[in-house]
Subunit: 177 residues, 2 copies
Amino acid sequence: MNHKKLRIAVDMDEVLADPLSKFIALYNRDYNVPLDLQISPGNEIHHHVPEHAKDKWYEYINEPGFFRDLPVIDKSQEVMKALNNHYDIYIVSAALEFRNSLIDKYDWLAEHFPFIPWTNIVFCGDKIVDTDILIDDRIKNFSNFKGRKLLFTSPHNLLITHYERVNNWTEVADKLL
Amino acid sequence: MNHKKLRIAVDMDEVLADPLSKFIALYNRDYNVPLDLQISPGNEIHHHVPEHAKDKWYEYINEPGFFRDLPVIDKSQEVMKALNNHYDIYIVSAALEFRNSLIDKYDWLAEHFPFIPWTNIVFCGDKIVDTDILIDDRIKNFSNFKGRKLLFTSPHNLLITHYERVNNWTEVADKLL
């Protein structure tokens, strides 16, 4: 019998890695944005920084090293490890948008998700992956995706109601394990 | 009317870029392998180098810069440009196998295929792409692919008979334009 495992694609930023706290730390350093900044539902971080600093995120994110030391999202490692026993897990990140993110993301994954082999990492633009499930915080990545879509909660998507939602990795485990 | 374009995934190495001539140049420099080396049908380059140099390819390919100055495969640019008017073209390379290839491949594509935007580049391991056509020289990439498979001729695959074959980019144009 050939029990083929289901494939899950898992986004990186705001799902496995936390760029928001890094942005806030950098805006704090340069513009006194408070370190405990709460991003209002539906907003992006640039809605909460001084007008003249709005475009700064693009400079920050293109800096070599930006993605190398991002915090790991709570419980993502243990749940990913458990999922990895039951599914074919692919990490799928739109890394091609930022040239300098490629090596940082590669090294970050090697450090924090060493149980995911290189064969199961996808750095792309459009997420044209053939998987059964996609866990992502950006609904634009769902538009051409045919499988089950799990919207991973992030401030910017809190007002969106028409997708199956997971608020954290414990809820991912509850749904998929 | 919604005329959705067909999607074509196009491999890089030995399809758009030529690592073989670079390997031969390096083996020539270090082991006097002739620059006009012909690789016999079904063979890989390591079948044609001195026994004690067989594993050297791994050292060469991991060197930063290896993929940056590869020659462009004949007529690939003009045919890709023409295809790009009729299809959604994605470049899909198993770049995750070699950490140091990522930036080199990114820069190489920006130089030689500037008309392919970052959204249409996929660096991966397994080629789990959801496209209609895949042009590739390695049949292992066809095993889980559901669409039309075009085997792009390279010495190592010359003995394979059970796939639709394209010997060069002129033949790709004949079939797809």
